[in-house]
């Protein structure tokens, strides 16, 4: 027992190193966290908004999905509601289309034109899109419908921002 006596000098050394170490760590940790933060942020990506749609309930028939999020516009914060047409295509992949007509920005509807069933139809200038969102030649729109970025989390569909159609 007496062989391992800790001298006063050793004791002070140990405690000072220990306390100093904690102090240094306390200063460095937040700095490190700030430095790493942008990387983590990028990994989280853009904002996805949860919808009420369960992925398992989706069929090959497009359903209208409303989802809302907060938008700040100068001094006015408002709740914006966007709509998406969502379905599973023949390969079972989820397709989320923006309902905004590429002609002049009206809202397209699914399967409302009796002469052209199973197409997206714009009531304003009779523009049409096939189910995959491609514009029908000879109708006013010149571009296919935008698509939403999406991801699935806990079986619930989350929608991101609208991007130009990928097959265009």
């Amino acid at each position: 027992m007496s062989k391992h006596r800790v001298s006063r000098r050793q004791f002070l050394n140990y405690t000072l190193t220990g306390v100093g170490g904690f102090m240094a760590a306390g200063m460095l940790m937040p700095m490190l966290r700030f430095a790493v933060d942008p990387v983590l942020e990028a990994a989280a990506g853009e904002n996805f908004v949860a919808t009420k749609q369960k992925v398992d309930d989706l069929t090959n028939k497009p359903v209208r999905l409303d989802f809302s999020y907060k938008q700040k516009d100068a001094w006015y914060e408002s709740e914006v509601t966007d709509t998406a047409w969502v379905y599973k295509n023949d390969e079972g992949k989820i397709v989320a289309l923006s309902p905004v007509c590429k002609h002049l920005g009206c809202t397209v509807d699914w399967n409302t034109d009796k002469e052209h069933p199973n197409q997206f139809f714009c009531p304003c200038h009779f523009g049409r899109y096939t189910k995959d969102g491609m514009n029908v030649k000879g109708t006013p729109p010149l571009k296919p419908l935008d698509m939403y970025d999406f991801k699935v989390k806990d079986g619930i569909l989350h929608l991101g921002s609208a991007v130009p159609h990928k097959e265009a």
């Binding site: 007509c101 002609h103 002049l104 920005g105 009206c106 809202t107 009531p123 304003c124 200038h125």
Partner: protein, 154 residues
């Protein structure tokens, strides 16, 4: 589209596609019906902006034509009809007035089917999703009126 600089830029580029004007008719009252008119106003504002969202590329939604509800109906009717004539002269093919105020029903025939009266449903205390669903239903019905008119004119 609305009367906003951004939308008007689009309008100038695609003028031949935009042939319809929508004017909300909003009453103002500070008497016993104050709350009732406020309710109509809330409903009408939401309804009009939803219609605008649906038909953005073919209609222009104007600021509401407001009037004092207790004053006589003749002068406001004249104003509305003057607006209509003016817009038709500007080259627009359709002018629709949308209102929740039942006073207008009495003069409906002077408007030649361009007056759309919708009863205001109280929105206070309603669940958000239910509210939205109800509005969609209303917009859908009004859409039919527009579609019919547009089909006729085609």
């Amino acid at each position: 589209m609305k009367l906003l600089p951004k939308d008007i830029e689009m309008f100038e580029q695609a003028r031949e596609h935009i042939d319809t004007i929508i004017v909300p008719l909003a009453g103002i009252d500070f008497g016993t019906n104050m709350k009732q008119y406020a309710r109509m106003n809330e409903f009408l504002t939401i309804l009009a902006s939803e219609i605008e969202r649906q038909f953005k590329g073919r209609i222009i939604l104007l600021p509401a034509l407001s009037y004092i509800a207790s004053l006589d109906t003749e002068s406001r009717k004249q104003t509305a009809l003057e607006w209509k004539v003016n817009f038709l002269n500007e080259g627009f093919k359709h002018v629709f007035f949308v209102t929740c105020d039942s006073d207008w029903k009495a003069v409906e025939k002077d408007f030649d089917q361009s007056l759309i009266w919708v009863p205001a449903i109280p929105l206070e205390g309603l669940d958000d999703s239910y509210k939205r669903q109800m509005m969609d239903e209303q917009v859908r019905q009004i859409s039919n009126i527009f579609s019919q008119k547009w089909q006729q004119a085609k």
